[in-house]
Symmetry: C2
Subunit: 275 residues, 2 copies
């Protein structure tokens, strides 16, 4: 196994996932993961550029940053790449009016978007909002469209809260895909466009960047397919991953990289580069 | 296109789907589809054996038959093949104790099943029971099992009620499959075992039987793959089918058969064999 210095040669920018890497959500907002507040502080003191690249779609960026700051993280709204603002850009560019199946906490991100007479559906991690009635309404809107368009803010399977594992938006995206016989457009990791915009905002090329996350598909796989390096932390949902759940081909670069990190016994605190 | 007499040569048994073929569910139990009550009566007066083969999983067989009888159909409980009793048989044979995510209306079918300390999950068309909380609970049960086993009573995409289209169990099966990285075992159409038991109960061979339904995948595709003939009615969910929603390979026997029926302009009243 290559030494860490060698693996990180030429890295100029670090993209940090948030949920499961910096903190676990839950009652009262959740809790910072041990060592993460200091790790972010050290990264920011280093020569590296840092950006937060999240699929969080239950909260607006403002609320997410407010929460992180209360937990002690040094982060500002302008440093966060999140799917809701990216979706708004796409909706405007394509003249689309969404039916929104999203959490109330993120609805403010869509304040400037026309939602009358919808010609597409946007789903995000709606949590309790994923009622049968709400899912059925989104389904009916799609079925009434000549060309049904479904956007999903990320496609994560689940995430970890302090109380346990929680279903993310991905399963509900799959449900609507199957019900309507369509394929959703994913806005967020692992979409290449999403990584592209995060890198542009950092001013760093893909081969100069490393993505740090807990999701083997959204974070590690997506970043590697975009030509970035990636590191999977052993916090958040890490320990719950099942081999049969991997989307990557067996023996492919994604799996072997993941395996070598695991074999290396990397733990959260060891992930970060030295000052 | 072959004449109807030729297509139906050698048919000794007719399997009838129920929802979308005999009636559309909805407020106050739903409504019989025009011509269906008389069609069933004519079939029963004919030389043909008749069996009702349904994926209905919101109601017990007793409740379903009670409803159909109130709508005027000549049907008894012993003539119905339904997924909940079939699932109970499998659970007993394999010593499995299910966590049930099902509608209250069908729960009585599982009265004799041990549900303590569950080692599998059974989902059915739970309707409003498909809340986020209930889905998350089923997901958590599966994730805690070493070898997660998920049974789905049918895998229909949606069905039609008098008020409009409604999501069926299939999308929720897909959601849990994706969340857990597993594949569900389907009990009900289009599972070969399900058609087999319906045919055994009729005493008819597959090549002597015809399945009549509104679902191109569950009814038509499943029956054809089991060696039966099949007919798709133009009631129920028929008109809502999207070409991209078909699961069969393009140009395969399923699609071409469906297309020829459509081209033939068959409507519900024309489907039934003459006395």
């Amino acid at each position: 196994m290559a030494a860490w210095g060698e693996r990180l040669a030429g890295v100029r920018g670090v993209l940090l996932d948030i949920s499961g890497v910096l903190y676990d959500g839950g009652e009262g907002g959740g809790a910072a993961i041990a060592g993460s507040v200091e790790a972010v502080a050290r990264l920011k003191r280093s020569r590296l550029k840092v950006r937060f690249c999240t699929n969080e779609s239950q909260k607006s960026r403002a609320d997410l940053v407010g929460l992180l700051r209360r937990l002690g993280f040094d982060v500002s709204e302008g440093e966060v790449t999140a799917p809701a603002p990216a979706a708004c850009l796409i909706l405007k560019q394509r003249g689309l009016r969404p039916h929104l199946l999203v959490h109330d906490g993120v609805r403010s991100e869509f304040d400037q978007i026309d939602t009358s007479n919808p010609n597409c559906v946007v789903i995000a991690d709606a949590g309790e909002g994923f009622s049968y009635q709400n899912m059925n309404k989104a389904f009916q809107v799609l079925m009434e469209l000549e060309n049904p368009v479904l956007f999903s803010l990320g496609k994560g399977r689940y995430y970890k809260e302090t109380s346990g594992l929680m279903l993310d938006v991905g399963p509900y995206m799959k449900a609507l895909e199957y019900a309507c016989g369509i394929e959703a457009e994913v806005v967020g990791k692992p979409s290449p466009e999403f990584f592209k915009s995060a890198l542009q905002e950092m001013g760093v090329e893909a081969h100069e960047a490393i993505m740090i996350g807990d999701d083997i598909v959204g974070d590690v796989g997506g970043a590697q397919r975009y030509g970035m390096r990636a590191l999977q932390v052993r916090t958040g949902k890490f320990r719950y991953l099942r081999p049969q759940g991997y989307l990557c081909p067996p023996g492919g670069p994604l799996q072997s990289m993941d395996m070598s990190y695991r074999a290396g016994g990397i733990c959260h605190a060891q992930l970060w580069p030295q000052d």
